[in-house]
Subunit: 344 residues, 3 copies
């Protein structure tokens, strides 16, 4: 189903940049260089793929200023071609429309309040005291617990769970299977058993946050767990109780953040990173994939602890020495001392 | 909505300990030192936060015996102030009440049996042959598969899935998105393809277990997967088929336990640990965050394999040497030998 | 509930192999050596468990050719006893039968098409444009998004989510909580914020794939994410956008695969492995548990990067040296040079 088409002139009127070549070419979808057809606009953000342009059937191209003069085809030259591509794609691919209204099979408690334009999908459940802001979409099978508040223009895909009393801002996207506000892992040891500590804080998610599929964000023990404005979380991330994640931080899949950690703003955290609890990470920190952060990081920078892989037989020989590093260091020191003594 | 209030005298009558200062002070909620108001009781389990007490507006305090005489404010002195805090918080914050009865939108098979006081939430599904014990709460959207048994006083939050024939004890808490009893990963290689091995064991969960959001516990291949009494599992833990986890063991988020591993009782396992299959771990073992356990641990103790992080540029220089440790060790040995020979 | 019983003669007529001992013994279920009763058939694929056979009450045994003459009991001798066991177990334990038809509480859009024999469970939701092939089972609480296609003879357990337009082949098994087709993590940095890149590709899952509980497979950014024929994915695996996993590859739980990685056919990947994006892994590669693969692997083989664990006190001493490996290597080189110079 082809959508509306736009000429390059119309695109630069909306999003800036400038056209080179035929400005009347019309495009209606984004595609990669290799699969693009004449009604597609493609993009080149990395010069190393430059050679693919000649083979591409794309009707037009988005390129950076550095590459603006290297091609003949109709093209838009932009300062940030990848961001430009994102905006054009957003124009061509708006989020799935949902009919406003409550599906007949959904269960909305009479004590819940839905603003105009809200859509509640089939078999969704909205408990008492819930507020849902204008035009938000609650997908099929979602369960929104008592007294949870969801702002305007949110999009909850199917089978999302929001526990009681959580607060979600505007334009928040929650993907399927994510669980917002389950109890934090609060236990007091008592004579060989564990006493449960009631988790009475909430989860507070600010505006423009996106949370991936099957990600879990636990409610606070006493105070709240907070996800600040513009944070983007990938799938299967675990955020423990009382964590705070600073604005516009992006975290890749499978990462875990232990209780009461405070992550700064504008950080990037690679996949499968693990962050200790009760530590503080500065703004503009980058943490590499598979990295374990065991203490506070007061300064911006990139931090890593990934072990390099090798062929298994090589690995076996090296790994055994990892258990002897202290001894290796001592033997080295002893040799150094012996030679120093010999020289004296 | 403020709950019932209790004087300090009433609290020690219930939970032991002794009051110092004004015993008639009434409190109705727990709070952290920094956010407490006069109707709150706070606690101090770690002496390093002692200086925060003077600034706190808390109406009363729970402290350990060592700190009992260091403050003037109304306070309860307890042997284990953190456990005391857990009990008081449990009094102030009972689990969410659920109205007994089956919601009109829930689907309960006529061949299922619900004891008195059971609550079944909206759009939950209870299949044939299911037994649910007295006063258990089945949250909205839960699906309880055929012939599964759930004991009394359990609390299943929304969107929990329990597969057929699983057995769940009393006072068990299951958080949203957890999946109990999916097939274990049993495959037989056969001429370049994989044959599925039917997983005909069950999951058996004993009493007083709590299982976190999106945690998965697979059913046994032939015999059962067993989670013993009082085990506490955090979010996004994977427990493979035929694992047995001993009583009162606590496991932090994102940990994975491979098939047929046997974990002892009273163990603690840090987040994102990985435990090999077919190994046996003794009681009272502690496993650190991010640690990979590759063989049996017959003795109590703390075990670790986490790689320390560093700034990326530092890490690059050190990581390259991790691939040469065997060679480093051999060169060191050669030097030692050369010096020994020289001395002779 | 005992199922149908089969004599050993009947089993070899179906599955090949040859009987030794009493061929008329009838068995009706599979069991492990230790729990087997006389109506059970057990198996021995690993000679090290040979001594358990004498104690077992099993009515019959499946053994390999190497062990065929070592026992007296009724037995089937097979080339691949583990695969034989899988086939016999499949005969005794067919997948749970589901009554064809749409449960009264399910919501099926009038614009969806269900082939004959399809079963749709309670409170499941099938959106417009969906096609479901003959005899497929859609479990309770599943949500199948608009225009998704599901082939014949599939089995979706409860609470599975399939996003719009995804394509699923025949005989595919999806376990509870898995999410197929959520948006990939596509973000363009723009002046300190993140712009969402619409994810307009699909997930395409070919025939005979099995996907574990709470596993997530993201839809492609522009082109599709593809899971080829016969792939087996365990629980809590994360597959990012535009990944391709080659035919008959098996991946254990908790593994993450970053965007646009291409995994070959017939690979095995251990639990909690992490695979970088935009890399290519050859056919027949084995990746060990907890291993991080940071670059393409053009050759078959086994690759590993797991750090060996030790007692915590030992680990502390060795771990500190991991931060000094570069310096250790330089000091070693200096010593070698000093000795070489001395010899000259």
């Amino acid at each position: 189903m082809p959508g509306a088409s736009y000429s390059l002139t119309e695109l630069v009127q909306r999003f800036g940049g400038e056209v080179r070549g035929d400005a009347q070419v019309r495009v209606s979808q984004i595609a990669s260089l290799s699969s693009a057809q004449p009604h597609h606009i493609s993009f080149l953000s990395n010069p190393k793929y430059r050679s693919q342009v000649a083979q591409s059937a794309a009707g037009a191209l988005i390129v950076g200023r550095d590459l603006g003069d290297q091609f003949e085809c109709p093209r838009i030259v932009a300062d940030n071609p990848y961001a430009y591509f994102a905006r054009v794609s957003g124009l061509f691919n708006p989020p799935p429309a949902a009919e406003p209204g409550v599906h007949a099979s959904a269960v909305v408690h009479p004590g819940a309040t839905l603003a105009p334009g809200v859509s509640v999908g089939a078999n969704a459940v909205i408990e008492r005291g819930v507020l849902i802001g204008a035009n938000s979409v609650i997908g099929a099978g979602c369960v929104i617990g008592p007294d949870a508040h969801i702002g305007a223009d949110c999009l909850l895909y199917a089978n999302v769970t929001v526990y009681h009393a959580c607060e979600i801002g505007e334009r928040v996207i929650l993907h399927s299977g994510c669980v917002i506000g389950a109890d934090g892992f609060g236990l007091a040891p008592d004579q060989g058993k564990w006493l449960k500590i009631p988790q009475i804080g909430r989860v507070v998610i600010e505006n423009d946050v996106e949370i991936g599929a099957n990600t879990t964000i636990d409610r606070g023990a006493l105070d709240d767990t907070v996800i600040e404005t513009g944070v983007k979380l990938d799938n299967q991330i675990q955020v423990a109780h009382n964590v705070r994640i600073g604005a516009h931080t992006a975290i890749a899949a499978c990462t875990g953040i232990a209780g009461s950690a405070r992550i700064g703003a504008h950080c990037t955290i690679g996949g499968a990173a693990m962050i200790f609890g009760h530590i503080e990470i500065a703004d503009h920190v980058n943490i590499s994939t598979n990295t374990l952060i065991t203490k506070s990081l007061p300064k911006p920078g990139t931090y890593t602890s990934a072990l390099p892989f090798s062929e298994h037989s090589e690995w076996l020989k090296n790994a055994v020495q990892m258990r002897h590093l202290d001894s290796l260091a001592k033997r080295l020191r002893a040799l150094e001392k012996k030679l120093e003594d010999g020289e004296k």
